[in-house]
Symmetry: C2
Subunit: 121 residues, 2 copies
């Protein structure tokens, strides 16, 4: 399966899912599903870049803080909820939901997707 098919499966399984993407920690997306998500006036692409930046910071700080590797970060805001999960040292997968979307299911589905995506790298 391609990245795109895995991402499509993630989005299809989670109520309220807006879009999912495989991204580098540099904020550059490898693949997104759907390719042109309908996000109202939420600046989804820019939000993901900001989150990639935050993940990089947390990842870099983890050694000093002795917290062990960062595995997952979620950011809930009034109009968008995003879950990021590390896939490789260079890439992560992000799933964004509407605020009333199923966060628990999203976390679960993303955890399963992580190992499938890892196999594609």
């Amino acid at each position: 399966m391609s990245f795109s098919q895995h991402l499509e499966a993630v989005v299809a399984q989670v109520d309220g899912a807006v879009a999912a993407s495989v991204m580098g920690f540099d904020g550059i997306t490898v693949e997104t599903h759907p390719p042109m998500p309908d996000t109202g006036d939420v600046e989804l692409a820019s939000a993901w870049i900001e989150y990639a930046n935050v993940l990089t910071q947390l990842k870099n700080a983890a050694e000093t803080l002795r917290t062990g590797d960062v595995t997952e970060v979620s950011v809930n805001s009034a109009r968008l909820v995003s879950i990021m999960r590390m896939v490789t040292p260079e890439y992560f997968v992000v799933l964004s939901l509407k605020p009333d979307g199923n966060l628990g299911k999203g976390r679960y589905v993303l955890r399963l997707a992580e190992s499938k995506l890892k196999a594609e790298f």
Copy 2:
């Protein structure tokens, strides 16, 4: 009830809870329970300062990104899981758990604590 009593109630209700704190976005703690948490060699106080910094970034970016106000952020790492919830524009509450702690219960209890803490400011 004091901050300390609210934090104590949070920690007592969540399996695997390590410590909870009311903090400013500048990274300075107002109150922590327990006052001297046993965190093994995890640098908890430094981790919270790093997270406060990340929260500030996300909070400041939210307007540009049109995501609405940030309400909650969680950071899962191999040896520590932390949930941060905004209380006022200047302060947030953080709960840290062992990695096998009850994250769902933690989120729930922190949401309830948020309104009680808000009333104390």
